[in-house]
């Protein structure tokens, strides 16, 4: 049963919290207008204010009980679990990056919009209700119970750690970047602040604390996401509902693109890009001699200048940024060459789907893998153990998607407005660019260079970073700094909430699945929770340590996590429920082969230029996933059926009656 008085109390608490948040916004706005509060001060209030609230929730939710620590006592009503899942799921990439990707890629970017939402249908129908009925704590728990034995559990642990840890590092990196942008702190200090922010939410109360802070974080991030775009929509169209008003921008973008295609000035700039790409190509083929030569040239130049020449600083900077080795030069120059090649092409229509077969195949493969990956991500699936009933697990998938959609159907509006505004810059003189361009140019999120020297902006002269779209919208819409600061707090909430979910998933996989279930089953409940907490600390520190290197590959790795999860855990979970004949040999072989094929294709396509049908590394699971299903089905039919008690287990999880009740466990 769902405890109605608990639901009412939760509603009241979060309504007061939301009211407080809005009051804070208004107060800071008044402060900014009347007392000229500095942006840094406002930034600090948001950063420490929100983290203090999350910390308070974390302290209130502290617990030493196993069921509370792992699954929040299975008391989380479906609406609130939906909000928590939405925050758990939407990371800094959804909040800041997605709209920008859509703006830059047009139709191709829709693979992320559909891919990151369609997975919830699979979760709600194929997986979540049955895991809730089973009623354990983790994914490896399910694999162990369903397939029997330590080997399925162990394989599940490996897959969980592989998928979740890279994801965690990326979130901690995201927190560092946001904190450093919001307050101008050094990146490492930002990571440290993020680390504290993550730990205060999870350390004392495990899943219970994570759940209630995630709900609070969802409220921050959704309000922060909606305010700027609503105002901008009103400014453009008089209609504040951006989700339905951006059609005019779509039309405007495509009309403008069609004009720019044959514009002689644009062609001139495209030629400049083309020449640059050719130069770089020549330099790359001449490696390592060209690398030596380039460095020597800079050094000679520096040596020829007198000690007080103002040009020295510029050359010293170039030398500092010069590739350290021929290998680094190769990767840096190849990247620059690709960028120049891309810029030398005329703009494609914003709303037209890929027209070639390879482009279409990639789009479909990527969308499918993002969906299957979503349905196979351990930190998302874990959330469905926390609902009071099986019925609530089903509806909770719906609530989760509802709360995710509030952001996801708004992202295309952000993207279209952002693109439209960039196009408004075209044809302007360089001297009359708006202030926000100067501001974001300083942090390299937007670059505009007069490449053909005519003093007027051409489209091909603008290059923007995807993060720019969401971050710059408050200023484009002419909103006060308070809103820009609040948007940063929203991005922070998105990154923190996802990091929390991941952190607890990883530490549970080690403390519960590996240590308690495999190595030492004789632990008392209180020791288990203590070990879980200790590991939380260790994993968080390790995540922050890896994040502090700022490896460029991390962002890519996160996208790969979907292919890995979709090709390993997803088939094993679905078959475990829907195919009674599936046994441990089939499931384990499927996971291992699926992972192996996916990783092999990832490495071959990313580093050695190997390709089948033009499929990019990001969609590599499209090979491992079907092979996983196939191998599992064939091997299970060639080996003995699962023993009687496991078949009964399958029957048992297939209907809701008799599920573990909320708060019934120790």
């Amino acid at each position: 049963m769902v405890d109605q008085s608990f639901v009412e109390r939760l509603k009241k608490v979060y309504a007061i919290y939301t009211g407080g948040l809005i009051a804070l916004l208004i107060l800071l706005y008044i402060g900014e207008k009347l007392f000229n509060l500095s942006p840094t001060f406002i930034g600090y209030v948001f950063l420490f204010g929100t983290i203090a609230v999350y910390a308070a929730i974390g302290v209130i939710s502290r617990t030493g009980k196993v069921a509370e620590y792992y699954v929040a006592g299975r008391r989380v009503p479906s609406v609130f679990n939906g909000m928590a899942t939405a925050a758990d799921w939407m990371s800094a990439a959804s909040f800041i990056g997605m709209a920008g990707t859509l703006a830059l890629q047009g139709y191709n970017g829709l693979a992320f919009i559909m891919g990151w939402t369609g997975g919830y249908v699979l979760l709600g129908v194929l997986i979540a209700p049955y895991l809730r009925k089973f009623g354990a704590y983790t994914i490896p728990d399910f694999l162990d119970a369903r397939y029997g034995g330590k080997i399925p559990r162990f394989v599940g642990i490996i897959a969980t750690l592989l998928v979740s840890f890279t994801y965690l590092v990326a979130q901690v990196t995201g927190v560092g970047i946001i904190a450093s942008r919001l307050l101008g702190l050094p990146f490492e200090v930002g990571v440290f602040v993020g680390l504290v922010g993550i730990l205060v939410c999870s350390f004392l109360g495990g899943m219970r604390a994570v759940t209630w802070t995630q709900v609070a974080q969802y409220i921050v991030l959704i309000i922060a996401y909606l305010i700027p775009v609503t105002v901008l929509s009103f400014k453009y169209t008089g209609n504040p509902i951006s989700q339905i008003s951006y059609g005019f921008a779509l039309q405007g973008i495509d009309q403008r693109f069609a004009q720019l295609k044959d514009d002689p000035k644009e062609q001139e700039v495209r030629e400049v890009h083309k020449k640059k790409a050719e130069d770089l190509k020549a330099k790359i083929s001449g490696l390592p001699a060209t690398w030596e030569e380039g460095r020597r040239k800079l050094e000679d130049q520096l040596a020829s200048l007198p000690a007080d020449d103002p040009k020295r600083a510029e050359i010293e900077k170039q030398l500092k940024e010069y590739p350290k080795s021929p290998e680094e030069a190769k990767s840096k120059w190849t990247e620059a060459m690709k960028k120049a090649q891309e810029a030398s092409k005329p703009p494609k229509s914003y709303t037209t789907p890929p027209t070639d077969v390879k482009g279409m195949a990639n789009f479909l493969a990527l969308t499918l893998m993002l969906m299957l990956g979503t349905a196979g991500l351990p930190h998302v699936i874990m959330r469905f153990y926390t609902t009071p009933t099986v019925r609530e697990a089903r509806t909770s998938a719906g609530w989760a998607l509802f709360f995710i959609l509030l952001l996801y159907i708004t992202a295309p509006a952000y993207a279209a407005f952002g693109r439209y505004e960039m196009l408004n810059l075209v044809g302007k003189a360089f001297s009359e660019l708006p202030d926000w361009v100067q501001k974001w140019a300083k942090v390299n999120l937007i670059t505009i260079k007069d490449l053909n020297g005519d003093g007027v902006v051409q489209f091909a002269e603008i290059s923007i970073h995807p993060d720019m779209i969401v971050l710059a919208t408050p200023e484009i819409a002419g909103l006060p700094y308070v809103i820009a600061g609040f948007v940063a707090a929203g991005g922070l909430a998105a990154a923190l909430s996802t990091a929390d979910g991941l952190l607890i998933t990883i530490s549970n996989a080690i403390s519960h699945d590996l240590y308690y279930k495999i190595i030492n089953p004789n632990l008392s409940p209180s020791t288990r929770v203590k070990i879980g907490k200790a590991l939380l600390l260790v994993v968080a520190l390790l995540g922050a340590y890896v994040a502090s290197f700022r490896l460029a590959i991390i962002v890519e790795l996160v996208a790969w996590a979907f292919s890995l999860a979709g090709a390993s855990l997803f088939p094993a979970l679905v078959l475990g429920v829907w195919d009674k004949r599936m046994n441990k040999y089939g499931a384990v072989a499927g996971i291992l082969v699926g992972l192996g094929v996916t990783i092999a294709y990832l490495i071959a396509s990313r580093f050695y230029g190997f390709e089948i049908f033009g499929i990019k590394p990001i969609a590599s699971g499209i090979f491992g996933m079907p092979i996983n299903f196939l191998v599992a089905l064939i091997i299970s039919r060639l080996t003995p059926p699962p023993p009687q008690q496991l078949q009964e287990f399958v029957d048992h999880i297939r209907y809701p009656k008799g599920a573990v009740k909320a708060g019934a466990e120790e």
């Binding site: 829709l110 559909m114 939402t117 249908v121 129908v125 279409m360 479909l364 009933t389 019925r391 959609l405």
Partner: protein, 85 residues
Amino acid sequence: MLSKEQLESYWRENRNLMVVVLLVWALVSYGAVLISGLLNKIVIFGFPLGYYMGSQGALVVFLLLIVFYAKSMDKIDKKYGVEEE
């Protein structure tokens, strides 16, 4: 407790429902993508339909599908008397 036959018939109903839901799921996403060039010829309030399906249309259908599945399963659970106490 359910008999073996009842359980099988319960599961069959669930499975049929699942197939219907996933069919619609595939149609509004993958099906719509494949013909999005055609759909784009239809423009409503400035939105080319093909682009609209990918950016918002399919998403709303996803949500409706989950709600539909949850409601239908409630009924089937009651019919077989396997709902939670």
